[in-house]
C-alpha cells in the first residue's frame, strides 16, 4: 500500500510555491511587528509553518476515501466544537471565536470546520443518484453547510462564516448545477441581502459595510482602516519603500499589519512589483491545485481539490480586495501569509488533502 506514498510523488511545485508564500509572510510579519507588542509573532509564525508542513505530510497518510467515510462523525464533531466555543470560548475584539488551549494557544474551531465543509460537499456530491445536482440536493446540502455557518455568524464572525460558502458553490457548479438554478440563486441572494441587513447583521458589521462603501465618512472611525490601508498600498509605488521602511506600517497607521492587513504592509514595502509576484504565486498555486483536481482518480478527489481551490481563491479575493478598498473589512486573513496558528494549520491541512488526492491518482 505504501508504494504510492513516496515523498517523490508529492506535488513539489505546489510545496515550493507554498514555501515561497510562507517565507514572504514571515518576513513581512517580522518587518511589520518589530517594535510592537506582537514582536514575537514572526518566529511563532515560523513554528506554525514548520508544523504546517508536518501536518500536511500527516494528512497525506490517511487515504482521503477513509476520511470521507468519517464525514458524519467529523460533521458532528464540528457542530459540537462550535457549540463548545459558546461555552468555553474567550471574547476578543468583540467576538467569541477562540477556545483557550493548554500552552497558551487559542484554537479557532471555525477555521478547521472549513475542512469538514469541503469534505462534506465532496462526499455528498459524490453520492448523487442523478447525473446533475437537483433542487432537492441543493436544499439538503445548503442546510448542512448553512447550519455551522449560522453558528459561526453568531459568534459573530461573518468573514469566516462566508468562507464556508465557496466550497459549496464551486462544488455544485462543477456537479452540473443547471444555469436556471444558478440564476435563481443569484436572484434569491439579491432578495435576501436587504433582509439580512435588517435582521442578521450586527451594528459593527453594518458600520464596516458602510465605511467600505464610503470610507471618507468617518476617517477616524470605521473608515480609518480602509483609508490607511489604501494610503499604505498607494504610497508603496512601483518598487516599494523597502523592508522595515514602510512608514504607514512602521508608524502604526496600519491596523493589524501582520494579520488581516499584512498585504497592505507588504504592498507598501515591496510595491507593485511585490504585489505582482505574490498574486502570481497565488495564481500558480491555484493552477497547481486545479491540475490535481483534473488528474484526480475520482469525483471525490476532484471535489476535494476544487473545494480547496475555491476556498483559497475566496480568501485571496476578499483579503486583497479589502486591502485596496474594494471589499468590506470582514477579518479574513490572507492564506499562508497572515500570522496566526489556526488559519495556517487549516490551510496546510487542505493542501495536505490536495496532495492526498494526488498520491492516489494512479490507483484504480
Amino acid at each position: 500500500m505504501a508504494s504510492y506514498r513516496t515523498l517523490r510523488d508529492l506535488d513539489w511545485p505546489l510545496l515550493t510555491i507554498t514555501l515561497a508564500l510562507c517565507s514572504l509572510g514571515v518576513l513581512q510579519v517580522y518587518s511589520a511587528t518589530r517594535d510592537t507588542v506582537w514582536r514575537d509573532a514572526w518566529w511563532k509564525q515560523i513554528i506554525y509553518v514548520v508544523a504546517g508542513f508536518i501536518v500536511l505530510w500527516l494528512t497525506t497518510k490517511i487515504d482521503y476515501h477513509a476520511v470521507l467515510s468519517q464525514v458524519p462523525a467529523l460533521y458532528g464533531l464540528s457542530i459540537a466544537g462550535l457549540i463548545a466555543v459558546y461555552v468555553f470560548g474567550v471574547m476578543a475584539f468583540g467576538s467569541r471565536r477562540w477556545i483557550p488551549m493548554p500552552g497558551g494557544f487559542h484554537l479557532q474551531v471555525s477555521e478547521f470546520v472549513k475542512l469538514v465543509i469541503i469534505l462534506l460537499v465532496a462526499r455528498y456530491l459524490t453520492e448523487l443518484k442523478s447525473e446533475r445536482v437537483e433542487a432537492r440536493d441543493l436544499l439538503i446540502l445548503g442546510g448542512l453547510v448553512g447550519f455551522p455557518m449560522l453558528l459561526v455568524m453568531k459568534q459573530p464572525d461573518l468573514g469566516t462564516a462566508l468562507t464556508y460558502a465557496p466550497a459549496l458553490a464551486v462544488g455544485v457548479f462543477l456537479a452540473g448545477l443547471r444555469w436556471q438554478y444558478i440564476v435563481a440563486i443569484v436572484v434569491l441572494c439579491a432578495l435576501v441581502v436587504p433582509l439580512a441587513w435588517h435582521f442578521v447583521l450586527k451594528d459593527y458589521q453594518k458600520e464596516r459595510l458602510i465605511s467600505f462603501a464610503d470610507p471618507d465618512r468617518d476617517p477616524r472611525g470605521s473608515g480609518y482602516q480602509v483609508i490607511q490601508s489604501q494610503i499604505a498600498v498607494g504610497s508603496g509605488g512601483v518598487w516599494g519603500k523597502g523592508v522595515t521602511r514602510g512608514y504607514q506600517t512602521q508608524l502604526r497607521f496600519l491596523p493589524v499589519p501582520h494579520t488581516d492587513f499584512i498585504f497592505s504592509a507588504f504592498a507598501e514595502e515591496h510595491g507593485f512589483v511585490g504585489v505582482v509576484v505574490v498574486l502570481g504565486l497565488y495564481f500558480l498555486l491555484l493552477m497547481q491545485i486545479v491540475q490535481n483536481a483534473q488528474a484526480a482518480p475520482d469525483r471525490a478527489g476532484m471535489f476535494i481539490c476544487m473545494g480547496v481551490a475555491a476556498l483559497l481563491l475566496f480568501h485571496v479575493l476578499v483579503n486583497a480586495g479589502m486591502v485596496v478598498g474594494r471589499m468590506p473589512v470582514t477579518g479574513i486573513p490572507l492564506p499562508l501569509m497572515s500570522a496566526g496558528g489556526s488559519n495556517t494549520l487549516s490551510m496546510f491541512m487542505m493542501l495536505g488533502l490536495v496532495n492526498n488526492v494526488r498520491l492516489r491518482r494512479f490507483v484504480s
Binding site: E131, R132, I231, V290, L317
Partner: protein
Amino acid sequence: MTVRDDLSEVERELVRERLNLWLVGVGGIVALLLMRFWILQVVQFETWTFFARDNQVRKVVVPAMRGNIFDRNHQLLADWRQSYNVTVVPGDVTDEALFRLAEILGMVPEDLRWRMLKNQAWSRFVPVLVAEDISWEELARVEENRLSLPGVDTEIRPVRKYYRDSGLFSHVLGYLGEITREELDDEKYKSRGYRMGDWVGRAGVERMLEDKLRGQDGVSFRLVDARGRQFSADYLGERFESAIYHDKIRELEEMSRMPRPGYSAVLTLDLRLQAAAAREMGDHFGSVVAVDPHTGEILALYSAPVYDPAVFIGGDKAERRAALENPDKPLYNRAIQGIYPPGSIYKIIMAAAGLETGTITPKTRVSCGGSFTFGKVRFGCWKHSGHGAMTVETAIMQSCDVFFYNVGNRLGIDKLAEYSKMCGLGEKSGIDLPHEKEGLVPSQEWKMRTFRQKWYAGETISVAIGQGALTVTPLQLARAIGGIASGGVWHRPHLVRERRDPERARRAELNLDNVNKVVYGMWGVVNEGGGTGGRARLVGFDVCGKTGTAQVASLEAAKGRSHLKDNAWFIGFAPKQSPEIVVVAYWEGGEHGYAAAPVVRDVIKAYFDKKARNAQPPPVLARPPVLLPKPAADIPAPAPPAVLREASTPAGGIQREP
C-alpha cells in the same frame, strides 16, 4: 459507501466545461485585483504619497514675536517677554511625575490631573498644556528634575509686555485680545492665517498696526506615529537603528520655516510730555492732547482714568470684566472719543471767522453791559457787571460772551458751520487710532435733516460761545486752534511716524493780520493782567492760550445729577509765532477753564525743557519714516525647537530672516 468512480462521458464533458469556466473566472479575478493595485500604486502614487506624509507629519506653529513699540525718542513702550508653559503627554507621564510636577508648581495633584484629562486631545500622546506662564524659579525646578518627570515638557511663548505699567500709554497702545471663534470664521482673518489662540489688537495702535506688528508665525514639522507620539532623539535611538528616520527628520527640518518677527513701530509720542500730562492731571478724569501743528504729530495723548493693558493678556477674567464694566469707563479714550461742547475756546474760531468774513474788523468795538438781548431772550455774559467796550483782542483775552454773541448773530449759523468745518470740527481728524468720534457742527441743513425743524436765529447765539448743539473732541480742538495759530494749515494728526504729506493737510488762505490779532488775544489770555489763563504763564516763553468751560451741569441737571460740576478746558500753544506745540487739556469737574491751565503749562514746559537739552532738532525729522523692521539679530528667538536648528532653505519660497 458508494464511490462513483465511473464518470460517464457526459459527466466528464460537463466537468471539463465547468472547470474551464471556473479558470476563466479565476483569471478574471486576479486580473481585476492587479488592475486595482496598478491604479493605486502606479497611477495614483503621488496622491497616496501626499496622504501618507500628511499622516505622519505634524505641523507645529512657532509663534512670531509681535513688533516692539517705541516713543519718538526710542524709549520702549511695549515689547514681549517669554512666557514659560508646561506641557504633559498623558500617555507618557507617570503618577509620580504628576505628583512631583504639582509639588513644583504649587498645585493640587488632582487639579493638575483634571486639567490634563480635560484638555486631552484625540490621542494620549499629543502634549497637553497644563500650566501657563510659570515663574522662572518654577521653570528651573522643572528642568532640574527633568529625569524624574517623564512625559513633562516645557515650552516658551512670546507674550506682549507693556512698560510704564501705570497705564500711562494704555489709550494709545490699546490692548490685545484672543481671537474669537466668529472671527476665525471670518474670511478677513482666515485669509491672513490667524489660528485659534492667536492674539489680535483690539484697540489703539495695537489694533491699527495689527498687520505690521503681528509678524508671521513659523512652522516646524515633527514626525509622529499613528497615536500622535512625537519622535524625539531618544525615542529614535531606542527604537530605530535605521538611518532612514534621520533622513526623514532632516527632510522635515528643511520644510520648516522660522517665524518672522513683526515690524516695530516708532510713535510720535514723547514719553516725557505724556508723563507731565499724567502728573498734572493727578487723580482727575479728563484728557490731554499735545500736537505739533507743523506736522500733525501727536506728542502726548492721555486719557484718565487709565487701565492696565496687561490685564487683557495675563489677567484673569474677573480683572478683565472689572475693566470692561467699570462705571468710570477706563477703556474709553476721552481724547478722541469724548465729545463735549468746546465752551469759550470756540471763541477763537468765532474771532477768526468774524475777521476773515469781514463781519468784524480789528477795530470793531462792542460794548458789553453784562448781557445781550435777542428778541425776547436775554443772554448773559459770564461777567454779570459787563466788560465795557471790547475789541476782538480784549474779548478773547477776557472771554467776553457779549462780544461773541454779536459776532455770532451777525455771521449766522451757516457761516459758523463753514468755518468750524474748515478747522476740522464735525468730522474725524483721521488720527491713526480706532473708534474716533466726529462731534457735531450744527447748521440749518443739519437741524432740518435731524429734527425736521427750522433753525432759529436765537440758537446761533449759544453756539457762538461754544455751547448748544456744538460738540468737539479734545483732539479736534487742538488741531483746529493749532491750524489757525499756524496761519491756516491743518495737518492730519497721527501717532505713527510717517512721511510728511502736505497734500493731505487742509489749507485755508487766512489773512495773517487776522491770525495775529487772534494770537495776540490768546497771548493776552495768559500774559496780560486781565487774562483768564494767567496760570499757564511760563516765564521766558510766549505761551498763548484760551480757557473754556463745558457746561454739563445744565444739561445733566435735568437727569438729577446736579452734583456734577462744569468741566474745564484749556488750550495753549507756544511759541506765539509759528507754534511748535499745541496742548489741550480737558478736566472733568474742573469748573473753571483756568483750572486746566497748569496742565497745559507743564506739558509745554516739558517740551521746551527737552528741546533745550538737545539743542539739535529731535531725531524725528532726520530718521527714515514710519516702521523700521526690527533687526532679527537682537531677537532671541523663543528657544527654537531642536528640529529647527539646522533649517536652511525655507519652504514655499518665503523669505526668512537670516
